[in-house]
Symmetry: C2
Subunit: 210 residues, 2 copies
């Protein structure tokens, strides 16, 4: 079983393992060795075996791991085996783009509320969601038992909205604002690093050209 | 020096090492051990030492690594020690959000062109960029020696735009469309997985609550 804490890089490997195993399954492969996972993801086989021993004893040395069981176990640890409601705050350009982003639901997340403090936006509809007044945040989060929120507001408003979200019972905040948020220790904040994606792409291009 | 190829997970570690070293530097720490990096990032110390030996022999056992030298070397390998121009295609919600995203420039990337095929958008200005007709893509990319592009168009248009970008000499494509793009082997495509960010956040919240 998963331990109480999983360091950041190990948690990330969990998502990467899941994606790798899913693409193996899509390609019709039902078994995988720690060595193959290691090679695909640029890890040592020892690291992969250590991770898999930690995240669930699902394979045996020399025999390998069953892909469907691995995927199921990874999803269970990640919690993406169930659909969870998410509040999205900010109906600006980014918020509207996220409201219509098709990838969340396939990963176990459904944006069930879109809120903004701009009354000109309230009542408009994006991606099947009607923009609600941010004043309703607490009520909506409590009613729908929403524990996760996406913050897509300008940096200048981010801390105020984060405070509202924390009071509404949000436990995890995906922050798109380039601002460091001050929240209680019990709340997890994850700031999306779009620049990291571009950095990784730039590196891959450099390496191709060498 | 960097090898011809760096596996995906190793490349990602490079970005994570850089961020970790940068935050150590911000906190005033000028030296770091492989053990400390390992612990912060959830890696084994052996993995960190292997990576650092590969990405540049900058430290010695027992003495540790100098943070400024590490940061400089990581940036050099990542290629983010110089500002590189980027073309952004798609001036819809997501494109407009990306055009005004403040995080790219600090990481060595400058969006120098914003293009769209919707003539009603051409001429409008977002984040200091005037939307240009996509018909000018080839000219602009050649003139400004743009090798990286961000694709923020609807999934239905993504492949056509990707083809245009490839013909314009783009070597790396950051794809926000949830579509698998077919490009020549020499072009690197990286699809942004916003769902992975939410998945990681959800996991962190689950672990806090255990």
């Amino acid at each position: 079983m998963a331990k109480q804490t999983i360091p950041k890089a190990a948690a990330l490997r969990l998502s990467l393992y899941l994606r790798e195993v899913e693409s193996l399954l899509e390609a019709g492969q039902t078994k995988v060795s720690s060595g193959q996972l290691a090679e695909s993801l640029g890890l040592t086989a020892a690291q992969v075996r250590k991770d898999l021993a930690r995240f669930g004893p699902l394979g045996r040395a020399g025999i390998g791991y069953l892909c469907p069981a691995l995927a199921e176990q990874f999803r269970r640890i990640l919690g993406t085996d169930q659909l969870r409601p998410v509040a999205l705050v900010g109906a600006g350009n980014l918020g509207r783009a996220l409201a219509t982003y098709p990838g969340f639901e396939r990963r176990g997340f459904k944006i069930t509320a879109l809120l903004d403090n701009d009354l000109r936006k309230v009542g408009r509809q994006y991606g099947g969601l009607i923009v609600q007044d941010i004043a309703k945040l607490h009520f909506v989060c409590q009613r729908d038992r929403i524990r996760l929120a996406i913050l897509a507001v300008p940096g200048s408003a981010a801390q105020d909205v984060a405070d509202l979200l924390v009071r509404a019972g949000i436990q995890g905040l995906l922050n798109f604002s380039p601002v460091r948020l001050d929240v209680p220790a019990a709340v997890v904040v994850s700031t999306v690093a779009l620049s990291l994606e571009l950095e990784q792409l730039g590196l891959a291009v450099r390496l191709r050209n060498k």
